[in-house]
Amino acid sequence: MRDRTLWTWHIGAGLVILVLLGLHMTIMHLNATLGLVGVGSDEPIAWENVAARAGSIFFTVTYVLLLGAALFHGFYGFRNILMELSPGRTLRTIINVGLSLVGVALFVFGTWAALAAPGAASMGG
């Protein structure tokens, strides 16, 4: 794919991350702040809360979406930096193929983790 297309997706993915990661950060890390207005939980990383989120369709879908968007955004940005180091033709191919493979592998792995968690809202249970 040409750089124009990839860059446009990069911006689009950034937008998705902005919304979803903002939500994620607020829920996971600004829990004391959320406590001030009486929402969220004291222990977002306690198992029962993790399991509860894993059981919710909303959280499962957003996790997978965020995973994909963040992987693409991150790896495209990383590729940008590598490409600007002016690698040779062979190295370029290795970078392109290598980063794509690692990205897809991480996406598959992460999606499996999101769907396979006990009580997760996956299609197969």
Binding site: R2, R4, T5, T8, I11, N80, E84, L85, S86
Partner: protein, 277 residues
């Protein structure tokens, strides 16, 4: 000049003699500073007094020709456009523009930049080749349409932006601010119909996607061309074209000059110098 010297200033000059020197080295000379002296004047004085073999490129000495781009006290500038007094120091360090190979002393090899410039087709692309080769009438363009590209057409191709750009510092494949700015200048010219052709080159890895708005090109441009602006506007055009949101426009038509009574004080056009009479 009859002006008396104000004080002594020290010139550190980066020198390189091909075939003799293995690497560039710094050389220091003191010269008398006279009022109004530019860095270019200083170099001439230096050549006259103590370094007769010093080489650099310059021509117009008034910021028009774009020959004397140099790294002056760490910043790419035109030597002729830079007063020594404005540098605020008695030490002037002059080096050739970085990101270009050094031919000799302060002379950079600008050829790669001009080759890229050419690859991005910096000229009007139209179907009516006959009319372009042998104009009969005029292409229509409003003053407002002129403003869309006028700023970018002030470029003198001195290469200062290329020397300041962090991406050009590592990536010779990146087209760079000057060629991209000029491609945008022609893309936005209402008389031009070459967007589709230039798009083929610009959508690839050498195009504006390698720009991340470090902003250096616009900071150092001695003509206020603002290449960074041109590149961001170019990205917008290219992305909206990808999303099929770009407004199609046909290149300006050939029109008859306006008819009607002609004011008497306007002199007649000079005789043609090209094509058939």
């Amino acid at each position: 000049m009859t002006d008396a010297a104000v004080k002594q200033v020290t010139f550190h000059v980066r020198r390189f003699e091909p075939g003799v020197d293995r690497a560039p080295h710094w050389e220091s000379h003191a010269i008398p500073l006279t009022p109004g002296m530019t860095v270019l004047d200083g170099l001439w004085k230096l050549k006259e007094l103590s370094a007769p073999s010093l080489a650099w490129r310059s021509s117009c000495r008034m910021g028009i020709c774009g020959s004397c781009g140099m790294l002056i006290n760490g910043r790419p500038r035109l030597a002729c456009n830079t007063q020594i007094s404005e540098l605020g120091t008695d030490v002037v360090a002059v080096a050739p523009l970085p990101n270009f190979a050094i031919i000799k002393d302060l002379v950079p090899d600008l050829r790669p930049m001009f080759e890229t410039h050419r690859e991005l087709m910096p000229y009007l692309i139209r179907d009516d080749v006959a009319e372009q080769d042998d104009p009969t009438l005029e292409y229509w363009q409003s003053p407002h349409e002129l403003e869309h590209y006028l700023q970018f057409s002030y470029c003198i191709k001195c290469g200062c932006c290329m020397a300041a750009c962090p991406t050009v510092a590592t990536d010779p494949q990146y087209a760079g601010p000057m060629p991209l700015g000029q491609a945008q200048r022609y893309n936005t010219d209402s008389r031009d119909g070459g967007f589709a052709e230039r798009k083929e080159v610009l959508s690839g890895g050498s195009g504006p996607w390698r720009c991340h708005f470090a902003g250096e090109c616009s900071q150092v441009c001695p003509k206020g061309v603002d290449p960074a602006k041109a590149i961001q506007l170019m990205k917008r055009e290219l992305v909206s074209d990808l999303l099929r949101m770009r407004k199609r426009r046909d290149p300006a038509p050939v029109v008859q000059p306006p008819k009607g009574p002609r004011r008497e004080e306007i002199p007649a056009a000079p005789p043609r110098t090209a094509g058939e009479a």
